[in-house]
């Protein structure tokens, strides 16, 4: 349904004019696809570019090169006016429930704003009905239309954000750390809700998160990013039980599982390199436990392990 091909996204840091501007390649050569009714989890640590990728898929950041194909149409290079009708199909839920809702707007205004733009033919009463319908779907009371965001808890606000995205009937929702700022029990609520909505509305999710347990729980497929590149992509079971790339192994080994407490925990050495100064050749070689000479000199190529499971490594575990 949506396919990324060799996508590059950059942004500039430093002064806007000339001499000090540094181009930071936040996303490099990323290729994968998301099918209908599929959840792809996107994991990685700081500097991996997952948030930047999410924003580029929403049209909030310009694509430097490559293709972003949505339902047959390449979105790279289209004009802003052409993006507008697509916005109802690709929506977003952000991380911080405290800053993703405008504190000066009522709940009704927040949820209905998109409808007014994309479905101007609806009358006021129809819009109110639609908003109430959405609130019920996210398990919120319909009496809250005139209230303001700060009167609600983090979990409730995220549900309002979900209603805001859902009301446009999107095909793909990008969840950018959507549950990371919530308490565990609220996380569970929102996760269950996302799963239900996926079934009811035939949604696809790009679930960006740093919390591996959550990603394992909700994803059908998982993409692992490091410093802008995809290092491994596969189904949830493949990534969790048969990871191939050393970073994937280390990443999932460093998550804390409640039940398996006595598992081997290999830790990586060294800090995550800065995005400005990425290492040569394979970006991971500075911390990789099995790095060899070739990793310092030659960029790793794509290795297809199974159908829909690939990795970029010189020594992938098969």
């Amino acid at each position: 349904m949506i396919e990324l091909k060799n996508l590059y996204v950059s942004y500039f840091s430093g002064s806007v004019i000339g001499w000090n501007a540094k181009e930071i390649k936040a996303v490099e050569d990323v290729s994968f696809s998301i099918k209908s009714s599929e959840t792809v989890g996107l994991v990685g640590e700081s500097g991996c570019g997952k948030s930047t990728l999410g924003k580029a898929m929403l049209g909030l950041l310009p694509i430097a090169s490559g293709e972003l194909i949505f339902e047959g149409q390449n979105l790279n290079g289209i004009k802003k006016s052409e993006w507008l009708p697509l916005r109802k199909s690709i929506q977003v839920i952000f991380q911080d429930p405290y800053s993703s809702l405008n504190p000066r707007m009522t709940i009704f205004e927040i949820i209905s704003e998109g409808v007014e733009i994309h479905f101007p033919e609806f009358s006021k009463e129809e819009i109110i009905d639609k908003v109430k319908e959405m609130l019920t779907k996210v398990n919120l009371s319909v009496d809250i239309l005139d209230r303001y965001p700060h009167e609600f808890s983090g979990g409730q606000r995220q549900r309002i954000a979900i209603a805001r995205a859902l009301i446009l009937n999107p095909k793909l929702i990008i969840c950018d750390e959507a549950v990371s700022a919530l308490d565990v029990s609220t996380q569970a609520q929102v996760m269950n809700l996302l799963k239900t909505l996926k079934k009811d509305f035939n949604l696809s999710y790009l679930f960006i998160s740093h919390d591996l347990n959550i990603v394992k729980y909700i994803s059908d497929k998982i993409a692992v990013m490091y410093l802008g590149k995809i290092v491994e992509f596969g189904t949830r079971d493949q990534i969790t039980n048969k990871p191939s790339h050393p970073y994937t192994k280390a990443l999932f080994a460093s998550s804390y599982d409640l039940k398996n407490r006595n598992r081997e925990r290999p830790t990586l050495i060294g800090e995550i390199p800065s995005v400005i100064n990425k290492p040569e050749a394979c970006y991971f070689h500075t911390r990789c436990p099995i790095a060899k000479e070739i990793c310092r000199t030659k960029k790793p190529e794509k290795v297809n392990l199974h159908e829909d499971h690939f990795t970029y490594c010189h020594f992938p575990e098969k």
Partner: protein, 332 residues
Amino acid sequence: MSKLSEDRKILLDVKDFSLDLVTENGSLPVIQDISFQIKEGEFLALVGESGCGKSVCSLALTKLLPSNLAKYKSGSILFQEEDIIKMDNMSIQKLRGNQISYVFQEPFSSLNPLKKIKDQIIEAFLVHGMGSKQEALDKAEYLLEKVGITDVKQRLNSYPNHMSGGMLQRISIAMALITDPILLIADEPTSAIDVTIQAQLIHLLMELKEQFSLSVLFISHDIALVSHMADRIAVMYAGEIVESGTIEEVIDSPKHPYTQALLNSYPSTDNLSQELEVIPGIVPSPIDYPIGCHFEQRCKYKMDICRLKKPNHIKLSESHSALCHLLEGKEK
């Protein structure tokens, strides 16, 4: 994870401690009758969700809360058998940063961006009169190596804004250790750090605890994380400690309904395909804490008495206790 010998000395003994915070909504009872102990060399995790009062508790232990807003209502905080609540300012200041050290959550805001690292690390050492500046610098170098910083001399002379979060947290840990504290209070030290770096920091903390014979009070919202490193764990809910015990007791056989529900709402390898357990309702706010059990409204097993009367602390074993009416009569 290690077995505790019962004849270790009790370092910190908090008994029936209650604290009110003054806000525009009046005086709110944010901590109610909590009790816990930390023995020498022990790692106690204080776990709870946001709003339960755990961060307030960590600051309250050495009276770091604003004095016009924090009212110490009852109970005692005995540190090496002296009650901190009753201490005067001078004595508490001798304690803070010296025998009790802190590591906080946000490395970028707990370190001063305008001062060099070396000036910040040695500050506590010099303030507590533990030696000369040169001795302080030597110790700082030693500790920075211990926490895994490379290029120590260069790091000492630089400013915090050039370093990553993980590195800054290591420096914060070194800073906390420079005065040879007995108790380290760490308030969510790894919550703002990347996962692989977090693993490194936890590993480091465990090593340092052994090497320096530290006791650690580790505050976190992530029960899965602490289950891998703590000796004992205390679960806080809405201002009260609802269950405490060893890791095996609390995680493998939790007795309080909240602990059970909390553990079940973590996605884990054995519930990947099921729905996560959701605790209905929301955490009560201190503005209107119920008079009975704080968890009653959301509890699966609630009884009438839960609404009317506060439960007692039921001692289920030498180390395991829980605050619940269901457990009446199961005392050992």
